[in-house]
Symmetry: C2
Subunit: 439 residues, 2 copies
C-alpha cells in the first residue's frame, strides 16, 4: 500500500509543470498494453490521459486481474518523453487500487470513436458517458448554459426559478403529464411561460434555465418528453423585432462563448462554426410558403405551419442567399400560435410570433405577447377557453403590464445543431421518450 | 400622443448622468399625490423610483382616472432637486399610457412595508411580488445561485442537467409524486442523487441547480413540496471531511457574493451578515445529544435524529462557544441515512454523513457515499431493497467509481436563513404546499 494520504493530487494536465518530481495521479485505467517485461498503463482523469510505464513484477501482478475502468492512484516520477500522449510519462510507479473492476465492460470506451449503437450506449449511460467524445458534448452543453446566463446578466436580466408542478396546462390541455397532488390533479409545466410573463411585471427582464415536460406520445429524433428550456422574457419592447434583436445577439454570444471556452472539445468533435451574419435574415411566413412553392415546387401556400422539410429548404436558401446558418421566420398564423401571442397589427390573421431556424431546424420559438387585460379576456373567449383557471396569471395584466415578449431555446437542440447532429439523444445525458424512462 | 418610438429609454438609475436633458422614462405609476394645481407622480422601473412634477391640465386629466400600477412612458426634462427621492426629478412631462389600470389594487405596494398577510400576498403573487422588499428577496436569490455556480466553476466543476421524471423513487418509496407516463408509473425526482453520482464517473466534479419534488403531506414553515436544490458531488475524496471543507468555502463564497452584489437589497432587508469563522465548528452526533442533555436537560441520548429544537440549541451553543452561525453535525446514525451513505469505518453504527446547521436550522445534508459495487449490493440487501430498479445506477459502481461525496443546499432555505426569516414561502416565488398549487 502506498502512503498517499499526505500527497496532493496532480491532474494529468499539470504534468508538464512537474517534470522530474514525484507526483500522485488519480483516475481510471483507460487501457493497458501488456508486453513481455512491462506494460503501458494509460490513466485517465477529468483533465486528460497519461502514460505510465509499469515494470516491477509486483505492480504488474496487481494489474494482471484488473479490467479497464478500474480506479487507481499512481505515485511516480514525471519524465519527459516526446512519444507519450502529452509529452510526459510516469516512471517507477507505485499503484494503489481504489475501485477494482472485475466485470468486463459492456463496450470499449478507450477507442477514438464509440463503437456501440445508441440504444446500447443509452442503456449503459453511467459507463458510456465516460467516453471522451460524450464528455466533450456535455462540456459544450455546460458552456452553452454559462454563455446564455453570462450574456443576459450583462443585459441586466434577473434569473428566476418557477414551479414545475402547476394546477392547469399552460398552452393546451393535450400533451401534459398528469400528476396526483395529494388527491388533486396537477400537471407538469410545459413551459414557464405564464410565470416568466408575470415576472416581467416584477423585474422587467427575466430568464430561467429549467426542465420542461411535454407528453407528446411520439418518438422522433427531434423531440424528447423532457428537456432543458432556456427561457427569456422582457418588457418595454416595441414589438417582436425588439425580441429578435436581443435573441440574435444572445445566440452570437452563446456560440462565441462555447467555441472560446471549449477549444479542445470543439476540435475533438470537429465542430464547424456556424455562419452568422451580424443581422440574421428574416422572412415573413406567407413569403416563406411562396418561396418554397417557387423554388422547390411544393405548393404549401395554404398551410398554417412549416414541415421539417420546409424548414430545411428555407435554411438552404438562407445560407445561399444571405450566407447565414440562421433564419428568422416571422408572422406565423394566429391559428397555430398560443392565445397570448400578439397579433400582427397590420394583418391580425398573422402574429408577431417568430421562429428562429438553425441549420434546417427550428431552434427557438418566440414573439411579442398580449399585454392588456381586455385583450386576454377576448383571446381566451375567442378560443372558447375559460378564464378561471388562468386567474392568477391574468392578474398580472389587470394591474399593469408593459408591452413585452420573449422566447425559449432548447438547450439540447442548440448543442445538437451546433454539432451538426441528428438526434437529441446524443446531446441529452439521460433522455426521456415514449420508450425510455431509465436509467 | 408622444412620439417616443425613436427615443432611447433612460432608466431611473441613470438620471444623474442626464441632468438638463430630455429623457424617456418607462415604468409603473408607483403612486401619485394630487395637490390642487399639480401632482407628484412617482414612476418605478427595474432600477428605482423617480419623481415627476405634473402641472399641465391635459396631463393631469389623463392621470385622473388611473389607478396605481398603470404602465406609463414619460418624456420630460431632468432637473436637480435635492428633496426628490434620488436627487433629480422630471419637469414638463408628456405622458403616454401603455397599460392603464382601472381596477383598484388588492393591497398597497407603494408603502415601505407590505401590509397584507402572507396568504393574501401569495394569492396575488403577480402583483405582490412587485413590492420592492419582495423584489429584493429574489434579487438575493438570483445572486445566491450565481455565487454558487461561480465558485464551483472556479473549482473546475461541470454543470449538469439530469431528468426529473424517473422510473423509481430515489431514496424511499414514500414521499414521491406519482405520474402517468404513457400508461406506465413514473415519479418526480426527489433529488438528482443517483445521477450526480453517476456523473462523478464522467466528470469527477459536478453540480446541478434544479427543482426537486417531495410529496410530504405536511404544511410547515420549514418545508415545501417543490424547491430548488443546489447539488454538488465530487470524486477522489479522503472521506466526508473533504466534502465539508469544500462546502465551507463554498458557503463563505456564496454569502460574500450575495452581500457584495446586493448591497442595496441587503440594506433594504436589513440583513445581518452571518458570523463565519474560517473553519466551521463541527460536533459528532452522539456528542451533540450528550451536550443537549447536559446543557439543556433534554435526555435525547437514545434518539436517532435531531429535532428542530435540538438544532436551535446546538446553534445557540456554537455561536456562544465558537462565534459561528454555522455548525456541522457529523456521524448521523446509519438507520436515519439513505443506503448509499458511507459508514463510519471506526463505528459502523454511525455514518460519514453530516448536516450543516445555519442559525438554528438544517441547511445542507451531505456526506461520503459508498463507492464499491459489492458494498451497494450489501447495503440494499441489508435494507431488504431489490437490486433491479437500481441497475442503471449500480452500473456506475460496477465499472469503477472513486471514493466520492457531496451535498445539497436548499436555495430558498439559504435565502430565508440569510434574512433571519421564518417561512420558506417568503423566499419562494410561487410556493407549492399541501394546500397551495396556484398561482
Amino acid at each position: 500500500m502506498v502512503a498517499t494520504k499526505s500527497m496532493e493530487r496532480t491532474l494529468v494536465a499539470q504534468l508538464g509543470e512537474r517534470e522530474g518530481q514525484e507526483v500522485l495521479l488519480s483516475g481510471w485505467m483507460h487501457t493497458i498494453r501488456r508486453l513481455s517485461k512491462f506494460a503501458f498503463l494509460l490513466i485517465r482523469d477529468a483533465s486528460g490521459v497519461a502514460q505510465v510505464i509499469v515494470d516491477s513484477k509486483e505492480q504488474l501482478s496487481l494489474l494482471a486481474e484488473l479490467q479497464d475502468e478500474s480506479v487507481l492512484e499512481v505515485v511516480g516520477t514525471v519524465v519527459a518523453e516526446p512519444n507519450a500522449p502529452n509529452g510526459f510519462e510516469i516512471h517507477k510507479p507505485r499503484i494503489r487500487l481504489l475501485s477494482p473492476v472485475r466485470d468486463v465492460v459492456p463496450f470499449p470506451i478507450n477507442k477514438g470513436t464509440l463503437n456501440a449503437n445508441l440504444d446500447t450506449i443509452l442503456d449503459n449511460a453511467a459507463f458510456g458517458l465516460r467516453h471522451p467524445h460524450k464528455r466533450a458534448v456535455f462540456t459544450l452543453s455546460a458552456a452553452a448554459m454559462a454563455g446564455f446566463r453570462k450574456h443576459l446578466n450583462e443585459q441586466h436580466f434577473t434569473e428566476i426559478t418557477t414551479p414545475k408542478i402547476v394546477a392547469s396546462a399552460t398552452e393546451s390541455g393535450a400533451n401534459v403529464f398528469r400528476l396526483d397532488y395529494f388527491g388533486r390533479n396537477a400537471y407538469l409545466a410545459q413551459s414557464p411561460q405564464f410565470y416568466k410573463q408575470m415576472m416581467v411585471g416584477v423585474f422587467e427582464r427575466v430568464f430561467e434555465v429549467a426542465p420542461v415536460f411535454r407528453a407528446e406520445p411520439h418518438s422522433t429524433t427531434r423531440h424528447l418528453n423532457e428537456y432543458v428550456s432556456l427561457d427569456v422574457e422582457f418588457g418595454f419592447i416595441q414589438d417582436h423585432r425588439t425580441v429578435m434583436k436581443l435573441l440574435t445577439v444572445l445566440i452570437q454570444a452563446m456560440v462565441t462563448h462555447v467555441l472560446d471556452h471549449c477549444k479542445t472539445e470543439a476540435a475533438l468533435l470537429e465542430i464547424k462554426p456556424p455562419v452568422m451574419p451580424i443581422e440574421f435574415p428574416s422572412i415573413f411566413f406567407p413569403d416563406a410558403l411562396e418561396l418554397i412553392y417557387t423554388r422547390y415546387g411544393d405548393d404549401c401556400r395554404e398551410e398554417p405551419d412549416l414541415s421539417p422539410q420546409h424548414e430545411r429548404w428555407l435554411c438552404e436558401w438562407a445560407l445561399e442567399q444571405y450566407q447565414s446558418d440562421f433564419l428568422f421566420v416571422t408572422g406565423y398564423p394566429s391559428s397555430k400560435r398560443p392565445f397570448y401571442t400578439h397579433p400582427d397589427p397590420v394583418n391580425p390573421r398573422y402574429t408577431n410570433g417568430f421562429d428562429l431556424l438553425f441549420r434546417g431546424m427550428e431552434l427557438v420559438t418566440g414573439g411579442q405577447r398580449l399585454h392588456l387585460y381586455a385583450d386576454y379576456v377576448k383571446a381566451l373567449t375567442d378560443r372558447k377557453l375559460p378564464l378561471e383557471p388562468f386567474s392568477g396569471y391574468l392578474d398580472a395584466f389587470r394591474y399593469g403590464m408593459p408591452p413585452h415578449g420573449g422566447f425559449a431555446i432548447g438547450l439540447e437542440r442548440f448543442v445538437m445543431l451546433l454539432l451538426n447532429g441528428q438526434n437529441l439523444r446524443e446531446t441529452t445525458l439521460f433522455p426521456r421518450d415514449l420508450n425510455r424512462l431509465t436509467p
